[in-house]
């Protein structure tokens, strides 16, 4: 029965998955167990994405199913019972750029791979990044962009983080369509990743290096 739910989610069978959760809740199954299955399913979805069997539409569909399950179970869910995390990441799209799609995919992948992700939004100034870093004390800061005009924003943010004496002890990683080795060096980031799968590897490497 339980494996049914995992398969439903992995196969993106929305209606079946939601019906199953309803049944399980009616049978008074523990929400922790249901969420445990969901996490297993999402890990499988992430693995399929990594193997290029799944693409962005499948990730979005899986996330949509997950959101609905979370809503259904929210009342009974004890938030303190979250599992331990690999590390904490503050992530945002830099000033001058309002794009969020790439960032959302990276959020998803980091999340299902065990990171605590704090998404602070789009068009984020260096002041705001500094505030959020002070507030959350993350292991990693992720800067996202889609446009080439964001290069100088990234550089400015990293310079300002340095000036605010916050650079030590955190790793700054960048990503987005126009990013490459040259830009990574230009802006002074610790690393960059080409896509959401490589972003997870990069974040893991960064945590090990912390």
């Amino acid at each position: 029965m339980r494996n049914g739910l995992i398969d439903n989610i992995v196969n993106l069978e929305e209606e079946e998955a939601l019906n199953r959760v309803e049944e399980l809740l009616a049978e008074d199954k523990s929400v922790m167990d249901i969420m445990g299955d969901c996490r297993k399913a999402m890990k499988k979805v992430g693995d399929k994405f990594e193997r290029k069997e799944y693409f962005i539409p499948q990730l979005i569909m899986a996330a949509e199913i997950m959101n609905q399950i979370t809503e259904m179970t929210e009342e009974k869910f004890d938030k303190n019972q979250k599992g331990s995390k690999l590390g904490k990441i503050v992530i945002g799209t830099v000033e001058g750029d309002i794009h969020d799609i790439g960032k959302s995919v990276v959020d998803f992948n980091l999340d299902v791979n065990g990171f605590e992700v704090i998404d602070i939004g789009e068009d984020i100034s260096s002041d705001k990044f500094i505030q959020e870093i002070q507030k959350h004390n993350p292991d990693i800061v992720g800067l996202s962009c889609l446009l080439t005009v964001a290069f100088d924003s990234m550089k400015e943010i990293i310079d300002d983080v340095q000036k605010a004496n916050l650079r030590e002890g955190i790793k700054i990683i960048i990503g987005g369509a126009p990013i490459d080795d040259e830009i990574c060096e230009y802006v002074g980031a610790d690393g960059w990743a080409e896509d959401a799968v490589k972003a997870v590897d990069l974040a893991k490497n960064m945590i090990e290096g912390c």
Binding site: I56, F151, A177
Partner: protein
């Protein structure tokens, strides 16, 4: 192969055009042509802001004119591409779908598109039933706040009742409707002022021997749904929840897109049609989904434009490494494909005898240099991708933010090393 003598007889302007056309026909021109996606670069370089570009027509066209004179590209990117509508028009209509310099984004940044679900999933049937009516009465009020009154209009097809339905016209007397139409007309006049100036600009450039990259712009039918109507998330959930609606909507969009594009291209007197592609890239969908939702309609659009003797110029944004086999289905020597992050050498191998290849020079390299690296990569592109012709030098994306000195070097290297 075109002989050198043929080129020598020509004026500079005709030489540029022949160079481009030879490359598109997969032949060897006298040298590798260069397409500059100047976009907002002329603003920064000649000391005006991107906000000025949206508000001061003379300054903006002057900057573009100087740019073309100074860099002498074989194809220039039209100034009406980045400044698609003047800032005043956006203000008059209270544009919601775009933030433009000084209005939602900083004065020196590029305009940016605000993606949203401008059409709900439940509205597919309304759209499919009558796209024109849907876009006029439902869509326009959502993307332009000041056209809110259009919402109150009766379905436009009611006019088919002829004189027996003449009283319907009274619906237009609603004060909100009147207000919206007044704004609409005001914006139309302002917009026409800029459009006329753009047309004059292109005519003047042509007299001076310079060619605009494109006249018309078209979108892939799936991108219309995903970018403009449903948003990325909406359209991707639709692939699972109501795939048949996407297909039915694309069946409606395709003939509209073909007709509108042909008309725009003919009016512009420029056969090159720009088709920026968004959601068809690797990663954005599986090959199976690409085959179902994206490619059939894009292919039909491209073939229909070729039938009208137009030159489709798709910009393959992102990577298309997994999709190159599909592109092999296109007819030979009729398409100019600009590539962004695809493996350009693989593209040459797979598509070198199908389409003229452009793009790839990373805008990031033109931003940070050094020039030696640019020189080396320019040579590599010329030697490998430019081998035997069918290649146009260009960047992987727009040149908004590149270093002027590095840009000049790149153009110089292309003209120097690109000789066949």
């Amino acid at each position: 192969m075109s002989s050198k003598e043929e080129y020598e007889k020509l004026e500079e302007g005709d030489k540029r055009l022949k160079r481009i056309n030879d490359a598109i026909k997969l032949k060897k021109p006298d040298r590798v042509p260069i397409l500059l996606m100047n976009h907002f670069f002329p603003a920064k370089y000649y000391g005006i802001t991107n906000e000025d570009a949206f508000y001061d027509l003379d300054k903006w066209l002057n900057a573009n004119d100087r740019f073309i004179e100074e860099f002498k590209p074989d194809l220039y990117f039209p100034p009406n591409a980045p400044v698609f509508a003047p800032g005043k028009v956006n203000e008059m209509l209270d544009m919601q779908q775009v933030k433009w310099p000084g209005h939602g984004v900083a004065f020196n940044k590029s305009f940016q598109f605000v993606e949203d679900e401008y059409m709900s999933q439940e509205e597919y049937d309304l759209f499919i039933d009558d796209p024109s009516d849907f876009v006029f009465r439902k869509y326009l009020p959502r993307i332009f706040n000041n056209l809110d009154g259009f919402k109150m209009l009766p379905p436009l097809k009611t006019f088919m009742l002829g004189y027996t339905g003449a009283s319907i016209i009274s619906a237009f007397a609603n004060p909100k409707v009147i207000e919206s139409f007044e704004k609409f007309l005001e914006a139309a006049k302002k917009s026409a002022e800029w459009n006329n100036a753009y047309n004059e600009f292109h005519k003047k450039q042509l007299e001076k021997g310079y060619h605009a990259f494109n006249g018309a712009t078209a979108l892939a039918p799936f991108d219309v749904i995903s970018d403009m109507l449903r948003g990325m998330k909406g359209s991707m959930l639709d692939m699972f929840r109501c795939p048949e609606k996407i297909i039915a909507a694309e069946d409606k969009i395709l003939p509209c897109m073909i007709k509108v594009t042909i008309q725009n291209a003919k009016m512009s007197n420029n056969p090159r049609v720009f088709i920026p592609l968004h959601r068809g890239a690797d990663g954005f969908m599986s090959n199976e989904q690409f085959e179902k939702f994206y490619w059939p309609y894009l292919k039909k659009l491209i073939l229909a434009l070729i039938d009208e003797n137009l030159i489709p110029c798709p910009l393959f944004e992102g990577k298309y490494d997994q999709r190159l086999e599909y592109l092999q289905e296109l007819p030979k020597g009729k398409v100019l494909g600009i590539f962004d992050k695809s493996d350009i050498f693989k593209v040459k191998e797979k598509l070198g005898d199908i389409m003229c290849i452009a793009g790839d020079m990373p805008a990031s390299l033109l931003k940070v240099g050094p020039k030696e690296k640019i020189e080396k990569y320019t040579k590599k592109l010329i030697n490998k991708v430019g081998k035997d012709g069918g290649f146009i030098m260009s960047s992987n994306t727009v040149l908004d933010d590149v270093e002027p000195e590095l840009l000049k070097k790149w153009v110089e290297y292309t003209k120097e090393y690109g000789k066949y």
